[in-house]
Symmetry: C2
Subunit: 167 residues, 2 copies
C-alpha cells in the first residue's frame, strides 16, 4: 500500500510518500508544492497543478492530511483553510480515500507523546525511514502524517512493533 | 460583460450571474451549490463539480468572491476557508479573472452603507434586477457580489448613476 501525507500551507504544502508492505515501510519521495506569488485564486490554481502532478506521478492508494489550524488570527486560519482544501480536493478527485489527522495524533503515533516538538518528529521520521533526506520541515511533517496513517489504517500491529523497537 | 458572484459556504455556496451592457444590468441566473454529506474531501469534490458545472454553463467573463470570515471560532473559519478555496479555484482554472470583496465593500456598493443588514441588500438586489427571484439568501448575496464587481470593475459611471437613481 502506498500512502501520501500532506502538511498543508498556502506558501508551501509539504508532501511525503511511503510504501507499506507488512512491517516494511519504505520511503518513496517527498517534497514541497509552492503557490508562488500573485492573487489568491491564481496561487490556489498553481497549488492544485503541483499537487495533482505529485499525485499522478506517485499514484498513492491512500492520502492523509494534517488537520492543523492556527489560532493566531482569523485571516491566517482562513488562508490555511484555503490551502488545505487543495490537499483534500486533489486526491479525492482521483478517487483516493483521504484521512485527516490532528497534529497531536500524528505526534503521538510517531513519537509516542502528543506534545512532542518538531525536531523529535523529524528524528523519528529519519529513524523509521533510514536514509531519508528532506530539504524542508514541511516534507518531514508530511512524511510523519503518511506514517501515522499507515499505522492507524491498521496496516499492521507489526508496524506498531517496528515503531516501538525504533523508539 | 458577464459577471458571476459567489457567496461561499461549505454547506451552501450561493452564486449569481449578471450581464452588463452599458448602464443595462440584466439578471441571468442564480442558485446554490451544495456539498452534501460525508467526509470533507468528498464534499469539496462535490462543491467543485457543482461550481464547475455552473461556470461552464454560464461562461462568465469575470468572477467575484465575497471575502468574508467568521470570527466565531477557528474551526468554523477553517471550514469556510476550505469552501472559499473552491469558489476561487474553479473560475481561475477556467482562466477567468477572480476579484475578492469584503462584505462591507459589497454592502457599501449596493446599499450605500457598509453596515447594512441582509434584508436591505436583498431589497436593493431586487430593485437593481427587476423580476429577479431567489430561493435563498446566499444567492441574493452572490448577486450582490456580482453587482458590486460590475460596478467596481469600472463598467461605468452609468451603473453608479443607476444605483443612485434606484436608491
Amino acid at each position: 500500500m502506498r500512502v501520501i501525507g500532506f502538511d498543508p500551507g498556502l506558501r508551501r504544502t509539504g508532501w511525503g510518500v511511503v510504501d507499506v508492505a507488512g512491517s516494511r515501510i519504505t520511503h518513496v519521495a517527498n517534497g514541497v508544492c509552492t503557490s508562488g506569488e500573485g492573487d489568491l485564486a491564481g496561487r490556489l490554481v498553481r497549488l492544485h497543478v503541483e499537487i495533482e502532478r505529485v499525485v499522478l506521478e506517485h499514484r498513492p492508494d491512500q492520502a492523509a492530511v494534517e488537520h492543523t489550524f492556527v489560532n493566531r488570527d482569523a485571516a491566517a486560519t482562513l488562508k490555511l483553510g484555503q490551502a488545505r482544501a487543495i490537499s483534500l480536493l486533489v486526491p479525492a478527485q482521483q478517487g483516493i480515500p483521504v484521512a485527516e489527522y490532528a497534529p497531536n495524533a500524528v505526534k503521538k503515533a510517531i513519537v509516542g507523546v502528543g506534545h512532542a516538538d518538531k525536531t523529535q518528529v523529524q528524528h523519528m521520521v529519519r529513524r523509521l525511514l533510514p536514509g531519508v533526506g528532506f530539504d524542508c520541515a514541511d516534507s518531514a511533517d508530511a512524511l510523519a502524517v503518511a506514517l501515522c496513517h499507515a499505522w492507524n489504517a491498521g496496516v499492521g500491529s507489526r508496524m506498531a512493533k517496528a515503531l516501538e523497537a525504533a523508539r
